[in-house]
């Protein structure tokens, strides 16, 4: 089976982020960048499916030329080849889904495997839009994935508990945190990765008319947490919540 996995290059979750002087961008100078952890989980699951059912794992990233690092890292884990659609402008969810669906249309994978969300903007929308554009069924937030014939069965983490759905390929599946623990790239894997094909294309050459439907006006850091305060009894707690915090 052929699996297309998407990878987004995002800021390290441990990085201390700062806002650029423009007020609507994160300062990226000197900030460590990683592959979106949910995408790494998707790569791992795709590799496991490939090991079981044969086939090919192709990774796709959309972003700056630096995203080759994240693609090569996935190749060092075992992915067979990569595609980078280069653009220096960050795309919003609508535009991203447009590009991914376009590449999926060319590649015709049996399965598009994506992270349920990216940890930078946490939109949690792109995979759903891709499925819609492809006219393909989707199974999101996978906790367990198995394939039989043309069908993918996904146990998904829904609000109320676990839910099992089966979707027919071609389809879109997204990973949740507990799906698996991604393997480490091996050293021989790192050495092999450089010989694997990586197709770099400019976004402008895809012939898409990209429509961004969202612009970021202003970013703010979350308010700094103040230290807690011990209160002597419930009565004081209630009156503080009511009079000072005004949450009751």
């Amino acid at each position: 089976m052929k699996i297309l996995v998407t990878i987004k290059r995002v800021t390290d979750y441990e990085a201390k982020l700062q806002i650029d002087s423009s007020g609507n961008k994160i300062k990226l100078d000197g900030v460590n960048m990683i592959a979106n952890p949910f995408d790494e989980i998707a790569v791992e699951e795709a590799l496991r499916l490939k090991e079981k059912h044969d086939g090919e794992v192709c990774v796709l990233s959309i972003g700056t030329a630096d995203a080759t690092q994240q693609i090569r890292a996935a190749m060092a884990m075992g992915a067979d080849r990569g595609i980078l659609v280069k653009t220096d402008n960050p795309l919003d969810c609508t535009a991203l889904s447009q590009v991914i669906a376009h590449v999926a249309g060319e590649e015709k994978p049996d399965l598009v495997f994506m992270g349920k969300q990216a940890i930078d903007d946490d939109s949690h929308q792109v995979a759903e839009m891709v499925a819609e554009r492809m006219g393909a069924p989707q199974a999101t937030q996978a906790y367990k994935v198995s394939v039989e014939g043309d069908w993918v069965t996904v146990v998904r983490e829904a609000d109320g508990g676990l839910e099992t759905v089966s979707v027919k390929m071609p389809c879109v599946v997204t990973s949740d945190l507990r799906l698996n623990e991604p393997r480490y790239a091996s050293l021989p894997g790192i050495m092999k990765a450089k010989k694997k094909p990586l197709d770099e294309r400019e976004l402008s050459t895809l012939g898409l008319s990209i429509k961004q439907s969202m612009t970021i006006q202003k970013l703010e850091l979350p308010p700094t947490k103040t230290t807690g305060e011990m209160v002597p009894d419930v009565q004081t707690l209630v009156s503080k919540l009511h009079d000072v915090e005004k949450v009751l």
């Binding site: 690092q69 480490y184 050293l187 050495m191």
Partner: protein, 427 residues
């Protein structure tokens, strides 16, 4: 009065002090076209970066959690050690056909730096296996020996060590007493080896699966591969109570009429000096890399602490004397790092392999000391890590050549050359 060296125009130097006339005849250039990682410069910086990132993830998850306990219990964790094989680390420089990862010297340095960032003791055990044993075999052993031993050493099924030092001889290694005499199809070996990292693998006294041994055959030194089934070979003792590097085990080995088959001779009789020279550079540059790991970790520790800890109403980072610890440590780490990586990348020579260790070992000890100072009382207890790294750092000034030995080698080399032009050559 000695001449004012360096101020006069270069022409007054006696003889051109280039590589052409390196003094040691044992460094004859004809020795240099073996299949050695020193000639392997094929990796890109992107691959090196990916290696470092992979290691950082691995170290944070797998190595850091038990580091304190391994130190306290003087425990070499064989299971953890074998996990290094899953990544392909155990044969990092060995050829792929024997199960190795075929990476270069810079990759070996990165690996030692990142492992030592968390656990220098475990890293020393790794070095004894991957550099002192595996790389030595990869560089010096015959095809059939490589085929027999390397795959299992790379896969982690076997653990290797290298036995050179003795109870009565360390620096003066040519004066070793352990002897090997050929009798028919065997060598009969007598003597004792001391301070052998990985020489013993567990509390029951199990010896290493492969001991890469040096012994005298007459006046010359020869190299042998010794396996545990060898009659007359045993572990004398597991050496307890080490100051640091306690996650590695250290042993005394005893050879009493030990019978080693002739096939286990590496190269020819009397070849050892040649063998040692071929492996020396990578050994020392990776020992220096352990110093880099210690320095980097201690910097992280002191910076983090100085920002958080308050005294007199402000973070201690606001005090000039604390800033001095941080700034000096940073600059000294960077200087050592530049020297180590430059050597690994393009300047591997005996001279620099002594030089990098001479610089990186004291740097590590000093930066660890600064970290302890910045942490105050917390610096003095194990939970805050710096004191462990401080204890570990001291080994780098002794093991694999003492500071004095490096000074002796470097000055002997330079004085024989009669000059020094390396900076002029480089820029």
């Amino acid at each position: 009065m000695p001449a004012k060296a360096g101020i006069h125009p270069r022409v007054v130097m006696p003889a051109k002090a280039g590589i052409q006339n390196r003094p040691q005849d044992i460094l004859d250039t004809s020795l240099r076209w073996y299949d050695n990682i020193l000639e392997r410069f094929g990796m890109s910086s992107a691959e090196h970066r990916l290696l470092r990132q992979t290691l950082q993830n691995f170290v944070a998850k797998e190595i850091e959690p038990g580091a304190l306990e391994r130190d306290q219990k003087e425990h070499f964790d064989l299971n953890l050690f074998r996990k290094l094989a899953d990544l392909g680390l155990l044969g990092i420089t060995a050829p792929e056909i024997y199960g190795g990862s075929e990476m270069d010297a810079v990759a070996a340095v990165i690996t030692h730096e990142e492992l030592a960032y968390s656990d220098p003791g475990l890293c020393l055990a790794y070095l004894a296996h991957a550099m002192l044993c595996v790389n030595n075999l990869a560089v010096n052993a015959s095809e059939s020996q490589k085929k027999t031993y390397l795959p299992k050493l790379c896969s982690g099924e076997w653990v290797g060590c290298m036995a050179m030092s003795e109870p009565d001889v360390g620096t003066d290694i040519l004066g070793m007493k352990t002897s090997a005499k050929r009798i028919d199809n065997h060598y009969v070996i007598n003597g004792r080896k001391m301070w052998i990292t990985n020489g013993v693998l567990d509390a029951s006294g199990k010896p290493a699966d492969i001991t890469y041994l040096y012994a005298k055959t007459g006046e010359q030194i020869s190299t042998f591969i010794v396996t545990p089934d060898c009659e007359g070979f045993s572990v004398g003792q597991k050496i307890m109570g080490k100051t640091g590097m306690r996650a590695s085990s250290t042993a005394e080995l005893v050879f009493e009429n030990a019978k080693v088959p002739v096939e286990n001779l590496v190269g020819e009789e009397g070849d050892s000096i040649k063998h040692m020279m071929r492996n020396l550079e990578i050994e020392r540059v990776t020992l220096a890399a352990i110093g880099l790991g210690i320095g980097k970790r201690c910097l992280d520790i002191m910076i983090g602490y100085a920002n958080e800890r308050k005294a007199f109403g402000k973070p201690i980072a606001a005090f000039g004397q604390i800033q001095q610890h941080i700034a000096n440590s940073y600059a000294e780490y960077q200087a050592a790092s530049a020297y180590v990586y430059q050597t690994a990348q393009s300047d591997m020579s005996r001279l620099n392999s002594d030089g990098v260790k001479l610089i990186a070992a004291p740097m590590a000890k000093k930066v660890a000391d600064s970290a302890m100072q910045v942490l105050g009382g917390n610096g003095y207890v194990s939970e805050y890590v710096a004191e462990r790294l401080w204890r570990d750092a001291k080994l780098l000034e002794i093991g694999g050549g003492t500071l004095e030995a490096h000074q002796k080698n470097i000055s002997a080399d330079l004085l024989k050359r009669g000059g020094f032009e390396s900076c002029g050559d480089r820029f």
